[in-house]
């Protein structure tokens, strides 16, 4: 574990990313304390520039505090990002494992299915799904999960496919282990690194997707989110630039942090890099 952290910490960007991510999580956790009450409360005059009347980041067209919106929005963004990633992982890992381990017809069917999903432009599909199931937190999560699982399935399949023919898996076969035991104890743990790295990037993508949906007015109307803030600031950008600038920076920093963390994890988990560092004689 300490070895892992040492390798992780070697990537400066990854450390910065982790710090940002912890900060964002901290803000999300403490939002109700920093900004008590609802982020929807019309706390002041509309269109106040940043810094006026105690509104650190200004107010919106109804006099709502943009800073409070960003703090509360962090909760939604992180929640959507995490939950939809878990859901997509569940689908993707299962299908990918089936395709990669069983191979043959199962592989063919699963991969055709996956390819098909990848052919449909994912954002259009997400919009469609959210619209069909009416915009709520769960439908947004569902839609994001639906469009995000194919890459997971592909990665997991590829990993399983290559691990399946590895000699240690063959050795497990020869030992007479059951299929499930082989998948769980031999294959999955070795496929975990790319899945973890992919998951960190998927959280980032999910946050971007959620914000894009909210931006188009397809977010849960009861939850303050960053995309909503930008969407509501779009039409008044000539009057109140701060309404769209600050939430955008929040998204940017969070997604950037997740990407940096993903790269750090990739460095720390990828044994190939460790090997090349050792040098070849």
């Amino acid at each position: 574990m300490s070895d892992f952290w040492r390798r992780y910490a070697r990537n400066k960007g990854a450390v910065v990313g982790l710090v940002i991510l912890i900060l964002v999580a901290l803000i999300a956790a403490t939002a109700p304390l920093i900004f008590p009450g609802s982020p929807w409360d019309m706390a002041g005059a509309p269109f106040l520039p940043p810094g006026e009347m105690g509104m650190l980041l200004g107010s919106d067209s109804l006099g709502r505090d943009v800073a409070a919106g960003i703090a509360h929005g962090a909760r939604v963004s992180l929640l959507v990002g995490a939950v939809s990633t878990v859901a997509a992982l569940a689908v993707g890992v299962t299908l990918g494992a089936i395709a990669g381990y069983l191979g043959g017809l199962a592989d063919d069917l699963v991969m055709r299915f996956t390819e098909f999903f990848q052919t449909i432009p994912s954002f259009v599909l997400a919009i469609l799904l959210v619209a069909i199931f009416t915009p709520t937190l769960s439908s947004v999560v569902f839609a994001i999960a639906i469009v995000s699982w194919p890459p997971v399935a592909r990665v997991v399949r590829a990993e399983f496919l290559s691990l399946r023919s590895r000699e240690f898996v063959q050795a497990a076969e020869v030992l007479g282990k059951s299929r499930l035991a082989i998948v769980v104890t031999d294959i999955l743990p070795n496929a975990l690194s790319p899945i973890i790295v992919l998951a960190s990037l998927m959280v980032a993508t999910a946050i971007l997707l959620e914000s894009a949906l909210s931006f188009l007015g397809l977010g849960d109307p009861n939850l303050m989110s960053w995309g909503f803030l930008i969407g509501s600031g779009r039409s008044v950008i000539r009057i109140a630039w701060w309404m769209s600038v600050f939430p955008g920076i929040a998204i940017f920093l969070t997604v950037l942090a997740l990407n940096l963390v993903g790269e750090g994890l990739s460095d720390a988990l990828n044994p190939r890099l460790a090997r090349t560092r050792g040098g070849k004689a």
């Binding site: 000699e167 063959q170 050795a171 076969e173 007479g176 282990k177 070795n190 004689a281």
Partner: protein, 537 residues
């Protein structure tokens, strides 16, 4: 004046590596018209030396001291552009892996022409390509020049590499393990080609290899390297037959040797009998063209208790597939696989489970055959646990087995990556033995190991086999190893067993032309390693 002179060459390793220098104080010469073999195990610094001469060292490995002179010109002081002009023109290099050494997207002819073009041959470059290809004995040079590398076999690619290297008739050819990745028959052809061209043109050749057989086949002089230093150099005959340095002596002692001894035919019961086993691979999807490969067909053999049967053949001959058919890693579509008279082939996964204990396997790649995420103790114990042995008992037995394969019991709680290749192979053997099998399938168990480690593992296998009375199916491409280990051998070619019989008979009086060809191709066949006491063992 020597063609190539290397004096006191020292190349640093990046900080934090296991030793400060990749190579230390290397001094050697290559004369015109001679082949200098640089021999050593992996990590000895022989490739670094070659690359240093070519000026192809990566940035992370800077030259710290020493001089390199080619035809009297000092290379070490030259700028990158001047060095570039010399590469391909006055000195050329060929590499170990012919499958990846050619640009997959460029036609063979273009790649050869490129050498000429970048050295100023201009438009005429292309015209010379067929002639160059013909010079390395490639058939139909005209159409071959228009082919892409993927259409060529490994041996053909290596010939292309040689044609490319020789295009401008360089004074010095550096060959970095050029035959290691090739089958023995191809290897012999390439070795002969190198020798022939070298003689014809009077080039100096610096030939890097780990194989003393190759050294014996081709070398005029030999340099032996260990841990980045030259430990011994001299005329081939001297070094091969009267090695001085303990390391050289150890290496030569480790070369499998000794003529196969006549052994009494066994009369023990038959453990395994394969009858008409066949396996065909089909490729191609719903829309693509179908291709079928008959990996194994009509395979018949018997294996008696206590006996070691060698399956020998070149890559693609089907020997590994056949071995995997025995343990059901590959499902044959025809034939019978009788284990003590019972056909294993139709058995379901569950019905086969009891037999799993009795047939075990040791794999080729010591780096890939152990689950990197599990501790060594668990790896060894999990087989018995799967078959119902209590965990504590299985772990205790794993400890004993570690001792049996000469590993420290402290290894139990460590992960595979903390061990060397030879140690891992011992762990792999311990895993197989934990099941107390009757039959052990050994699939190229020593091919990935350095020669000295190889000898140790073979010795271990021989010991264990003797102590436990194992029956063994031993797959190898190395005829020297087969001769040393096997009671009987079966020679496979293109999926079929072309000849089988007692080892001494097959090797001593081969009946099938292919067997003869294989035996003729053993490098250094004319050299019998001297009988040395292994001072290190």
């Amino acid at each position: 004046m020597s063609l190539l002179t290397v004096e006191g060459l020292t190349v640093a390793l990046p900080p934090g590596a296991e030793r400060p220098h990749a190579i230390t104080d290397i001094t050697l010469q290559v004369d015109r018209g001679e082949i200098l073999c640089v021999v050593g195990e992996s990590g000895s610094g022989k490739s670094i030396t070659a690359n240093a001469v070519m000026g192809l060292l990566p940035k992370a490995l800077p030259r710290q001291a020493g001089r390199i002179l080619l035809e009297g010109q000092e290379l070490t002081g030259l700028g990158p552009e001047a060095l570039r002009r010399l590469r391909g023109d006055r000195m050329a290099m060929i590499f170990q892996e012919p499958m990846t050494a050619l640009n997959p997207l460029m036609r063979v002819g273009d790649q050869i022409a490129e050498v000429l073009e970048v050295h100023g041959a201009g438009a005429r470059a292309r015209d010379r390509v067929p002639e160059l290809l013909a010079a390395v004995n490639l058939p139909d040079p005209g159409s071959l020049a228009r082919a892409h590398p993927f259409r060529l076999s490994g041996g053909q690619r290596q010939r292309v590499m040689i044609a490319m290297a020789l295009a401008l008739e360089p004074a010095l050819l550096i060959a970095d393990e050029p035959t290691t990745a090739l089958d023995v028959t191809t290897q012999m052809q390439i070795l002969r080609l190198v020798r022939e061209i070298q003689t014809r043109r009077g080039m100096g050749v610096m030939f890097i290899t780990h194989d003393f057989g190759v050294v014996a086949e081709i070398a005029d002089r030999v340099v032996v390297m260990q841990h980045g230093r030259i430990v011994e150099q001299g005329a081939a005959d001297e070094v091969l037959n009267r090695p001085q340095h303990p390391y050289t002596r150890a290496l030569i002692a480790a070369v499998p040797h000794g003529a196969p001894q006549a052994r009494a035919a066994m009369a023990t019961p038959v453990v395994l009998a394969a009858q008409g086993v066949a396996k065909t691979y089909r490729r191609g999807g719903w829309f693509g063209p179908r291709a079928t490969v008959r990996a194994v067909h009509d395979a018949d053999f018997v294996l008696r208790r206590g006996e070691t049967l060698g399956l020998v053949g070149e890559s693609g001959s089907g020997k590994s597939t056949l071995a995997r058919c025995v343990v059901d890693l590959v499902k044959p579509e025809a034939g019978r696989m009788l284990f003590h008279g019972q056909d294993l082939r139709p058995l379901s996964r569950a019905a086969r489970k009891p037999f799993r204990q009795r047939i075990q396997m040791v794999f080729q790649d010591p780096f890939a055959s152990l689950n990197p995420r599990r501790r060594v103790g668990e790896i060894i114990a999990e087989g018995p646990i799967t078959h119902g042995t209590p965990r504590a008992a299985a772990l205790a037995r794993a400890r004993d087995l570690l001792a049996l394969v000469q590993l420290d019991p402290g290894a139990m709680d460590r992960y595979p990556h903390e061990f060397s290749g030879g140690q891992r192979q011992r762990i792999g053997i311990a895993r197989a033995l934990a099941m107390e099998p009757e039959l052990l399938i050994a699939d190229e168990p020593v091919s990935a190991l350095d020669v000295s480690v190889q000898a140790q593992v073979l010795k271990l296998l021989a010991d264990i086999r003797g102590r436990l009375g194992l029956t063994m199916l031993f797959i190898t491409h190395d005829l020297r190893v087969a001769a040393q280990v096997c009671d009987r051998v079966a020679v496979m070619q293109q999926g079929a067993i072309v000849e089988q019989g007692p080892t001494d008979q097959v090797f001593g009086a081969p009946r099938h032309p292919y067997t003869r060809q294989l035996l003729d191709s053993i490098p250094g066949r004319g050299w019998t390693p001297p009988d040395l006491q292994d001072p290190q063992a």
